[in-house]
């Protein structure tokens, strides 16, 4: 009881005290228990990864908010949606203007050509997605495949795959794609097929890669394999554009449409 003058009922007296309703030893014991639990959790969970690419200006707030709410995967998902919208949209815009400042592709200095050309931001967007979710292999495969086989920027594709491998080194698809890109640089279609064929059946194989391999099957004279793959794309893909292309390809292969 703190010391105070007490004079009659209702009289107010004052004293200074830091007394709380909770015994201090209880609070201390509780905080020690929390500390111990967190120390043990540290052994279970490694230190978090850093944002190697920083945040994109147009989505920094959204990404920060999602990460602070513990929704890294959702932040990665929204990054993918933005990337698909970007890649599916017309070329041009601020990123493309910036790309004009970069020099053309040079084998000796590939880093100078990062972003040089169309959809210069595709690679960076993919890396940001991997920052948020290192196991989001689809984003890496989609970006790398687009860069290597559609935009003919193999160095940029390898950069994405390298980044992805640094975060998820056990993923066999990344290794397969690295090899496929290597074969592609040397114009070896058979090599590309041999590396990509085993990963076509994985759940996160982009339909674009399946379409590419089907096309290479046709070029290599492997008609049955091409037919089977186009049929699979037509029947199972969620991308309406690729379903249409598969339908057209099937018509050509079956002779219902001239080449």
């Amino acid at each position: 009881m703190p010391s105070a003058r007490q004079e009659g009922a209702g009289e107010r007296a004052t004293a200074f005290s830091l007394r709380t309703d909770l015994p201090r030893r209880w609070l201390l014991a509780g905080l020690c228990c929390c500390g111990l639990l967190n120390a043990l959790s540290l052994r279970v969970q490694p230190v978090g990864w850093t944002l190697g690419q920083g945040l994109a200006p147009e989505s920094a707030l959204e990404t920060s908010a999602l990460v602070s709410l513990g929704m890294r995967r959702l932040a990665a998902d929204l990054g993918l949606v933005r990337m698909l919208i970007y890649y599916g949209g017309p070329e041009g815009g601020p990123e493309e203007e910036e790309a004009q400042l970069h020099s053309r592709y040079h084998p000796e200095h590939p880093e100078l050509a990062w972003g040089g050309g169309r959809y210069s931001g595709l690679g960076t967007r993919a890396l940001r997605i991997l920052d948020a979710d290192p196991s989001f292999s689809y984003a890496a495969l989609f970006a790398a495949g687009s860069l290597a086989f559609n935009l003919n920027r193999p160095e940029d594709a390898l950069r994405v795959l390298d980044y992805a491998l640094s975060r998820d080194p056990r993923n066999p698809q990344f290794q397969a794609y690295v090899a496929a890109v290597g074969f592609h640089r040397h114009g070896d279609a058979a090599g590309v097929i041999s590396r990509l064929e085993p990963v076509l059946g994985t759940p996160d194989c982009p339909v674009m890669i399946k379409h590419l391999v089907a096309y290479l099957y046709v070029k290599a004279g492997q008609r049955q394999k091409a037919l089977a793959l186009y049929l699979q794309i037509r029947d199972t893909s969620k991308d309406a554009g690729y379903r249409r292309m598969a339908e057209v390809a099937l018509e050509r292969l079956e002779g219902r449409r001239p080449h």
Partner: protein, 257 residues
């Protein structure tokens, strides 16, 4: 134990009749349906987006319900003097706080489970068949909410303010998800001035990122190798919850009404 069960069951029944929970279920239904639009934009990754959005939203709605309940369990009963009718009976204060808390978490579990059932129906209709361990992700989300609700209960009794408790709990929720980054800052480059508070935070704030099993749904997740097992997560959550409920009891046993 009997009193705890009575308080828990009654609390659960009371919560089920509160408009807040009914509204949150309706709200969740609308949002989950709207997520279908987002899924379409993701084309081939539609199911993943639906999965992540749904699980994330269910977690947030569960958190909202838990924070609302935890900030009002004792405070509202004190304001309305309803607590008098309980504590003037042969009911211990520890039984009271534990029973009320369990009732709250039962109703949160029920509402999250209902939203998950609806979510799974949407996923199933979209052709999702796993193999992501949905149950583990749901459990992780619930454990996060459980831990945060326990902390909120303590803060509500300590501060006697629902707003203060809610705000501090929201901050703790955010910091809990940044715990790996806080630890990184401590070991790599935090200034001398900031290292002490960061160090203290890293040992007090609940490690909510530990329960983000949703982030580890991919089989090739780099963190998969470090998982210590479900028993560890559940144990951490139960112990952490027990600590803050014990502190809440410590406050309540000395509290005068």
């Amino acid at each position: 134990m009997r009193n705890i069960a009575i308080l828990a069951l009654t609390g659960w029944q009371e919560n089920l009749r509160r408009r807040f929970y009914l509204l949150s279920l309706a709200f969740a239904g609308v949002f989950l349906y709207l997520s279908l639009i987002l899924g379409v934009l993701a084309v081939e990754q539609e199911n993943r987006v639906l999965l992540d959005f749904g699980l994330g939203f269910i977690e947030l709605m569960g958190l909202a319900g838990a924070l609302y309940g935890a900030t009002t369990i004792v405070l509202r009963e004190m304001e309305t003097k309803t607590v008098y009718l309980v504590l003037t009976r042969p009911v211990g204060r520890g039984e009271y706080i534990l029973g009320r808390f369990l009732g709250l978490m039962l109703s949160v579990l029920a509402s999250m489970a209902l939203m998950s059932a609806f979510h799974l129906c949407i996923l199933w209709a979209k052709g999702w068949r796993g193999p992501e361990p949905y149950a583990a992700a749901f459990l992780g989300a619930y454990l996060k909410v459980l831990v945060t609700a326990a902390l909120t209960t303590f803060l509500a009794i300590f501060s006697s303010s629902a707003l203060t408790a809610g705000v501090i709990s929201g901050v703790a929720w955010t910091l809990g998800h940044f715990l790996p980054e806080i630890r990184y800052l401590i070991t790599h480059g935090a200034s001398r001035v900031s290292i002490v508070p960061l160090f203290a935070l890293s040992y007090i704030v609940p490690d909510l990122q530990l329960f983000n099993l949703r982030d580890r749904l991919a089989a090739t997740s780099p963190l998969a190798a470090s998982e210590a097992g479900l028993a560890w997560w559940v144990g951490y959550a139960v112990l952490y919850t027990a600590v803050w409920l014990a502190l809440a009891w410590g406050l309540l046993r000395r509290k005068e009404f």
